[in-house]
């Protein structure tokens, strides 16, 4: 009995201290009344959460083991995938334009996130400037289309080749670095690309962006309606998912994972490190290029504003949220982060706040992502 009251009073003392500390930190920003309210809310919330947490943790452990068992069943039986695919195929029927619009956006982000997943998830190279490739893809496409009159199907391969080449060329010097230095250099690259697009008025039309991109055509028919465009994006998403699944199990995919786990050991086993890293970065850039083309063709207008650092962070969050290295997880993560802001339109102001807090909590409690079953490498 004394043990329980002892524990309870400790929890209470802790929550008083934490609430008081938070209230004091909050004081200058919103004044005394709001601060006092925060104190009151935290004073009640913290003991409730900590007590609930101690009761719920066995329950959570049970659900996660169920999820792991499900994870081992699902990918083996391909028929389940068709069950998922049917509603996805049916989206344009009966749904309003707004929902199809969000779905198209989600599709583009799935491709982007799958591309980044190759670099960050498989190979373990943190890239904070992935949006640069997206931007290069979109701008190459837009310029080819508006200045040289290329159609969708001819501009896209050229734009994707340009993007892949850009990824390759930047990776050659950058891959001499490791870990967070590499992350910083990629961030710098992303920012330089954006600043250049913003200032090179004669070529990119600066902050005003490029408009008048023509709609894609298929067998002479323009793809103008939203539903048609939805199927175009879906086509590329399915290709991306299928290709990723094959690559993951190929020799190259396994070499990437080996690199991520231990570079020196991988090299000792005969994996040419630099070459496989170059493959990885170029392959990631390739998908970013495709996503860029789709984005430009969908929007008919692009400007540097769409390619900020926050966009890179958002794509990274999609990859991390779902689970580094897991294709299904990344798809769910991308859809989740595109749909969530739309659902939370009412509390729009708080959604970035929640995203920030969510990233921290995820790193602390589930660094392998919501759906990644494999425990992340613990090597420092």
């Amino acid at each position: 009995m004394t043990a329980i009251t002892d524990r309870f009073s400790r929890v209470l003392l802790r929550s008083v201290i934490i609430s008081l500390w938070s209230a004091v930190l909050f004081l200058p920003f919103r004044g005394i009344r709001a601060s006092a309210m925060l104190f009151g809310v935290l004073l009640i919330a913290i003991p409730v959460i900590s007590l609930a947490g101690s009761w719920l943790s066995p329950l959570l452990a049970a659900t996660s083991s169920v999820r792991e068992r499900m994870g081992s069943i699902l990918p083996k039986d391909r028929r389940y995938i068709i069950l998922f695919l049917l509603p996805v195929l049916a989206v344009p029927f009966g749904a309003e334009n707004y929902i199809i619009d969000v779905a198209v956006l989600a599709g583009i982000y799935i491709i982007l996130a799958l591309g980044l997943n190759v670099v960050v998830g498989y190979t373990g190279l943190l890239n904070l400037g992935f949006v640069a490739y997206y931007a290069i893809g979109a701008y190459s496409f837009a310029l080819l289309n508006t200045k040289l009159g290329f159609g969708f199907w001819s501009a896209m391969p050229v734009a994707v080749i340009i993007t892949t080449l850009a990824g390759f060329l930047f990776a050659v010097p950058a891959l001499r670095l490791k870990g967070d230095y590499l992350a910083l250099v990629t961030l710098g690259f992303g920012e330089i690309v954006r600043i250049t697009l913003n200032n090179w008025d004669s070529f990119t039309n600066g902050p005003n962006g490029i408009g008048g991109i023509t709609a894609p055509t298929l067998a002479g028919m323009p793809i103008e309606t939203l539903s048609a465009y939805y199927y175009l994006v879906l086509f590329f998403v399915i290709i991306a998912v299928l290709v990723m699944g094959r690559v993951q199990r190929s020799k190259v995919g396994r070499a990437w994972v080996a690199l991520r786990e231990d570079e020196i050991a991988a090299s000792a086993m005969g994996v040419p490190i630099t070459m496989y890293k170059l493959y990885s970065v170029s392959f990631g850039a390739f998908w970013a290029g495709i996503a860029g083309c789709l984005f430009a063709a969908k929007m008919r207008f692009i400007s540097p504003e769409s390619f900020t650092f926050m966009e890179s962070v958002l794509i990274l969050c999609m990859v991390i949220l779902g689970g580094l290295g897991s294709i299904g997880g990344v798809v769910v993560g991308a859809v989740f982060l595109v749909v969530l802001p739309e659902v939370l339109r009412e509390v729009q102001m708080y959604r970035m706040l929640a995203l920030g807090a969510g990233i921290i909590l995820l790193m602390i409690f589930r660094p392998q992502g919501l759906f990644g079953g494999r425990v992340a490498s613990t090597r420092r």
Binding site: F29, A183, I320
Partner: protein, 300 residues
């Protein structure tokens, strides 16, 4: 013209140097790029405006401007140091033994959180810092040096000298150096590494607070997203001087400030923000140890 740019660059550079010190100290000890450090600086800029506004409202500023400014500085430093301490405790301490990328991603989360925290509580529009000193200044060789510029340069110089003495001479400073060299060895000789890490965050955040306050006085305008670019630039400064190296951060900061102001005057002002990134990339590729740093072998 040249002299004017040098003065401007020196002013900007001393601010970068102050922020860079926070990066370099944390990196020296934790090998973590504290991505949220720029946001602490932004908090400092906002807190300066808020606290000075409070003092003006209660009539202290009318009574004595220097006293109000001094108290503002003091409170800003205390608040930012508390924020830095709290951030470390919540977002980095639980990840001490996690894979290396986890704390970096967590730091990005902190950065997003703090930016939006300030945006929600203070609004998305620019905040104006009340002008106290105006454009008053002295002319040296037909170059205008405002009192504000002079005091920014002098204050930064004094603080950096104090920090240097602190790290070299005091027991805590010695413990910080020991932890930076070898964490487990330091704890074996009886140093509480967690306390030292907290102290490092407190000092670094205090320095960023001073930088933030001075910059909001200098530019007169503050926004919730100033922390990102200032943070990146200060990080570049730290890398330029050799990350983990304290004199290097001071040197790198001033060098970067000079490059930026001379570059925007003589090359192109449109690409002003790109200079820091270009320098960052070039330095990391050519000499990752920085100008004053030593190469270190990778530990296996």
């Amino acid at each position: 013209m040249l002299l004017q740019q040098l003065i401007n660059g020196l002013t900007l550079g001393s601010v970068y140097a102050l922020i860079a010190l926070g990066y370099t100290m944390v990196y020296g000890i934790l090998e973590l790029i504290n991505f949220a450090h720029g946001e602490i600086y932004m908090l400092g800029a906002y807190l300066g405006i808020i606290i000075l506004g409070f003092f003006t409202a209660v009539g202290l500023t009318a009574y004595s401007v220097p006293l109000a400014l001094f108290l503002t500085l003091l409170l800003t430093v205390v608040f930012c140091a508390s924020y830095g301490f709290t951030v470390e405790k919540i977002a980095y301490r639980p990840l001490r033994s996690a894979p290396k990328l986890s704390p970096l991603i967590s730091a990005i989360g902190v950065s997003i959180f703090l930016q939006n925290y300030v945006m929600i509580t203070q609004g998305a529009t620019d905040k104006v810092f009340p002008s106290l000193a105006g454009d008053a200044g002295i002319d040296v060789f037909s170059t205008r040096v405002t009192f504000l510029q002079a005091s920014i340069i002098v204050v930064s110089g004094i603080i950096m000298a104090l920090l240097h003495a602190f790290i070299r001479k005091t027991k805590t400073g010695k413990a910080m150096r020991a932890v930076a060299q070898d964490k487990s060895m330091a704890s074996l000789v009886g140093i509480n590494t967690d306390t030292i890490i907290s102290v490092t965050f407190i000092i670094g955040s205090g320095l960023a607070a001073i930088a933030g306050l001075m910059v909001s006085m200098y530019y007169g305008l503050v926004n919730y997203f100033i922390g990102y670019s200032a943070g990146i630039k200060a990080f570049t400064a730290a890398v330029l001087g050799g990350i983990g190296n304290i004199p290097g951060a001071m040197f790198g900061g001033i060098l970067l400030g000079l490059i930026e102001s001379l570059g925007s005057a003589y090359i192109s002002s449109e690409y002003k923000d790109a200079y820091a990134f270009i320098i960052l990339i070039v330095i990391l590729l050519v000499r990752p140890a920085g100008l004053l740093g030593r190469d270190s072998e990778e530990k296996i």
